[in-house]
Structure formats: structure tokens, C-alpha cells
């Protein structure tokens, strides 16, 4: 009798166009039955040469490109870039502008986490969170539209400040949103947090130990779910983050479920930050005095902010002209995804889907 159980490793190609890879990520897999034996992420399908484009644009002209990196949380990408250029120029940003920036960045973080939760829920077969999350995200986008006219690609932050002040009725509408949003998070949690099927799909899956997280340079919610208390808003407070009272959630489960818990708590904390910023926003200008032609002195600056996915960094090298000599964008999901093979050692293919979703990748910022 021939051995019908002979092990054959089957190469499988997942993506680049696959609903569970969140964009155009391609995974080359080697499967032994249902077990993933080898995994090679292939990226670059959305490469647009943004770092090269940067060298041909003036400093303000590059702001719209930063929107198109992480298109679900682009306010934070605006922030990192303008902060870097301001550091090069030595500009003081007016307080009111800093408060507006923090408010928008935190709303952006909530919107990004909502997109993550809805898409990840779909990966796991939970359809309902998708509709719940998009309901609240819609209101955040309406608020963004009110303040800057755009819903996705804002270019709201400018070198020296922000483009527009809060219009009439904005503060009231934002307040209404902040009043109802914590209850909505309870609603999402009621659907998932103690759901037995959800727990079976997430607890103990996609483990990344603390040491591995350090080794791979993982940041953001993925690092905080592996027990690393690392958040740039606390460790090196920029803008006016040192004035607000908020907590950095850290979990020690190192698994997919912990990443979920961290992000849910982050949404609550972001709501608190927006509330404090809205209550304490000072009167004043929203733009600093900035020269018409922006020509930073020659120098190198590395500006980092806490994005919704982790550390967003801009390495900006100026040669004294009106165009950057080189801009390197440090994308958080790029480093986080490079740890995927470590998370999926001998995982089942369905767990691989749950793990890829839990990293919260955005190909726009990874491929640049």
C-alpha cells in the first residue's frame, strides 16, 4: 500500500489582490496541509516613488503627498512632515494651531482604528462591526470635511500651523460626537470582547514575544501588545501632548487578542485627549510667521510622531535650497510586517489571516 499521507509542501500564492491582505500585499506561502511552513511577504505593488518625487518638489508642495502615504490616518503623516520642516526652520507654532493639530491627529487615529477593526472583523467572519464602525467613522469624516473640505486627503497641516480654524458649529458637533463615542466603543466590545468564537480565533494566535518585537523594531499597538510600553506621545512628547492626561494601554498577551484590546483602549484614550484639547484650546493665531519662500538651512533632521500604526519618522536632509535633498519616510507597518514570519511559525492558514489583519498594514505607507 502506498503511503497516502506522504507530506508534500504546496506553494500557494496569496494576493496581491486578495480581500484578506488589506491592499496589495502578496504572501508567498508553503503549506503542509493547513499549516504554513514558510511565509515570504512580497511588497512594492503600490510603489509610487514618493521619496524620489519629494526631491523635485518644494517643501510646501510635498504636503499633499504625505496624505497619500497612510490614507486612513493621514493627519498624523501631515503632522510628522510639517514638524520636521519646522524643526529645520526653527519656527514656533502658535498654541492654537498645536491644539488643533492634536485634535485632528487623535480623530485620525480613531478613524484609522475603526477601519482596522471593521476590516479585521470581516477577516474573522464578523460582519456586524463593519457597519457599526463605518457609522462612527462617517461622522469623523464629516468633521474633517467641515474643517478642511476634504474627507481623506486633507493637507490640513501647513508649515507653521494649520490651514483653517474651526468653523461655526464645529465645536458643538465635535462635542456631540465625543459624548456618544465611548458608548459606541462599548457596543463594539459587546460584539467581540467576550464573544466565544472571537476568543477562539484570537487568543494565543500570532504570538510575538517582547524580545522578538525589539529585534524587529516593531512599534505602535503591535509593540504595546507585546509588553513594550513605548509611545512617542509619552516617551518624547511633541506638540502639546505633555499637557493632556491620558494612559498608554499595554498588554502582555503578545497575541492577536492583545492587539485588539490595545487598540480599543487607545480609542478611548484618544477620545479623552480630544475632549481635553477641545476644552482647553486657547484663542490666537493658527499660523506662525513663515517666509514666503521656504528655504531651510542645510542640515539633517529626524522627526518622529506616533501614528495609528506605530512610529512615523521623516528623515529630512536639506542642502539649503527650496527643495529637500532627500526625504526618507520611516513607515511603521513596514517594520511591523517584517516580523510576520516570526508571528506565523507553524500557524494554520486561517490564523495567518487573523495575524496579518492584526498588524494593521497600509500598503500606501509601506510601499511609498
Amino acid at each position: 500500500m502506498s503511503d497516502i499521507r506522504k507530506v508534500v509542501e504546496i506553494p500557494i500564492n496569496m494576493g496581491p489582490a486578495h480581500p484578506a491582505t488589506h491592499g496589495v500585499l502578496r504572501l508567498k506561502l508553503k503549506l503542509d496541509g493547513e499549516i504554513v511552513k514558510e511565509i515570504t511577504p512580497v511588497i512594492g505593488y503600490l510603489h509610487r516613488g514618493i521619496e524620489k518625487i519629494a526631491e523635485t518638489k518644494t517643501y510646501p508642495q510635498f504636503i499633499p503627498y504625505t496624505d497619500r502615504l497612510d490614507y486612513v490616518g493621514s493627519m498624523i503623516y501631515n503632522h510628522g512632515y510639517v514638524k520636521g520642516v519646522e524643526e529645520l526652520l526653527g519656527i514656533e507654532v502658535p498654541e492654537r494651531a498645536e491644539y488643533l493639530r492634536v485634535m485632528m491627529a487623535e480623530l485620525s487615529r480613531i478613524a484609522s482604528h475603526l477601519i482596522w477593526l471593521s476590516a479585521w472583523g470581516l477577516d474573522l467572519g464578523a460582519m456586524a462591526p463593519f457597519f457599526y464602525c463605518f457609522r462612527e467613522r462617517e461622522e469623523i469624516l464629516n468633521l474633517f470635511e467641515m474643517i478642511c473640505g476634504a474627507r481623506i486627503t486633507f493637507s490640513y497641516m501647513r508649515i507653521g500651523g494649520v490651514s483653517k480654524d474651526m468653523p461655526e458649529g464645529f465645536a458643538e458637533r465635535l462635542q456631540r460626537f465625543l459624548d456618544i463615542f465611548p458608548e459606541k466603543i462599548d457596543e463594539y466590545e459587546a460584539l467581540l470582547t467576550e464573544n466565544e468564537i472571537f476568543l477562539a480565533r484570537t487568543v494565543g494566535i500570532g504570538r510575538l514575544s517582547r524580545e522578538e518585537a525589539i529585534d524587529y523594531g516593531v512599534t505602535g499597538p503591535v509593540a504595546r501588545a507585546s509588553g513594550l510600553n513605548y509611545d512617542i506621545r509619552k516617551i518624547e512628547p511633541y506638540s502639546v501632548y505633555d499637557r493632556f492626561d491620558f494612559r498608554i494601554p499595554v498588554e502582555n498577551g503578545c497575541d492577536v487578542y492583545s492587539r485588539y484590546l490595545v487598540r480599543m483602549e487607545e480609542m478611548r484614550q484618544s477620545t479623552r485627549i480630544v475632549q481635553q484639547a477641545l476644552d482647553g484650546i486657547p484663542e490666537g493665531d493658527i499660523m506662525a510667521k513663515v517666509p514666503k519662500k521656504i528655504k531651510p538651512p542645510a542640515g539633517v533632521v529626524y522627526s518622529r510622531v506616533e501614528g495609528s500604526k506605530g512610529e512615523v519618522g521623516y528623515l529630512i536632509i536639506s542642502d539649503g535650497s527650496d527643495k529637500p535633498y532627500r526625504i526618507k519616510i520611516r513607515s511603521p507597518a513596514y517594520s511591523n510586517l517584517s516580523a510576520l514570519p516570526a508571528m506565523c511559525k507553524d500557524a494554520k492558514i486561517a490564523d495567518l489571516v487573523a495575524t496579518v489583519g492584526s498588524i494593521d498594514i497600509c500598503l500606501g505607507e509601506m510601499d511609498r
Binding site: 506553494p11 511588497i43 512594492g44 510603489h47 516613488g49 521619496e51 524620489k52 522578538e212 525589539i214 529585534d215 524587529y216 523594531g217 516593531v218 509593540a223 513594550l228 513605548y230 516617551i235 518624547e236 539633517v300 529626524y302 518622529r304 512610529e311 519618522g313 528623515l315 536632509i317 535633498y325 532627500r326 526618507k328 520611516r330 513596514y334 517594520s335 517584517s338 516580523a339 516570526a342 510601499d367 511609498r368
Partner: protein, 152 residues
């Protein structure tokens, strides 16, 4: 930390107007020393193309404090080779692949130095200042066996 570094590696680390310049051949020693002394977080590795030289910039920070460092390594344009730090941080893998892809910088000892953002058949390294911007290229996508899947 800068003083400590120049003291520990007098022949490999120098300070030039705020920049920490490291000898290419000693980068692995300097990085392992940093990793064991609090600077455990490799943020990014970036290439830069200057008229007379290439530079590789290492942004190194800490998971527990706000301290961070920027190391600069200068390598000649005609032979851009330096040792890989993948033995110090596994996360250096993709950053070094990117620097190879965009600048053609070769990292000696890298487990699999291949292109990451561009297709394998791409010619040239786009972030070099000498790269022709309007050059058109045929892109071939091949599977493992070398069979052509599509051509654009």
C-alpha cells in the same frame, strides 16, 4: 552617549558638527555595543547619494527612554559596500534591502539581499541622483521557475 562612543571606539567613531561618523568596517561593533547599552531600537536605515560619496544613516533609539542617535557611515560611490547589521537586529533586513533597491548599496553578510519595492527585473537604482527620470522600462513578472507571467 556620544562621548562614550568616541572613547570606546577612538579609531572608528568621530564627531563632526553634530554628526556621529562611523567607519564602515566597524559599524557592526558599534551597533552591538549600542544595542547592549540601552539603544535597543533600530528605527531606520537610509541611504543618501551625495556628489562625492554615499552615506548610510542609522537612526537608533531606545524602547525605554527618549534618547536617540543618528549614525552616519560614509562609503565610496564606486564601491558602495559595508557590513550588514542584520546580526544585531533582525529588523535591519528589510531596511537594508530597501537601501540596496534604491541606491545599490551592498550589505555584506545580509541573508538575502534582493530588491524589495521594485520588481526583480528593474534596472538601475532610482534614488540615485544620476538616475534618468524619464527612462521607460519593461516590467516582467516571473514565477519561481522563471516562467513569464506578465509583461508591462
Amino acid at each position: 552617549m556620544i562621548e562614550k562612543l568616541t572613547e570606546k571606539f577612538p579609531d572608528a567613531v568621530t564627531e563632526e558638527d553634530g554628526l556621529i561618523v562611523v567607519e564602515p568596517e566597524r559599524i557592526v561593533d558599534v551597533c552591538s555595543y549600542l544595542r547592549n547599552n540601552g539603544f535597543d531600537f533600530l528605527e531606520a536605515i537610509s541611504g543618501v547619494d551625495y556628489e562625492d560619496r554615499m552615506e548610510v544613516i542609522y537612526n537608533i533609539a531606545s524602547y525605554t527612554s527618549s534618547e536617540r542617535l543618528m549614525l552616519t557611515v560614509r562609503i565610496p560611490k564606486e564601491n558602495p559596500v559595508l557590513p550588514s547589521v542584520t546580526g544585531v537586529w533582525k529588523g535591519a533586513n528589510w531596511h537594508e534591502r530597501e537601501a540596496y533597491d534604491m541606491f545599490g548599496i551592498k550589505f555584506r553578510g545580509h541573508p538575502k539581499l534582493s530588491r524589495i519595492l521594485l520588481p526583480d527585473s528593474w534596472e538601475g537604482h532610482p534614488l540615485l541622483k544620476s538616475y534618468p527620470l524619464n527612462k521607460e522600462q519593461e516590467v516582467k513578472l516571473e514565477d519561481e521557475t522563471g516562467e513569464l507571467i506578465c509583461q508591462i
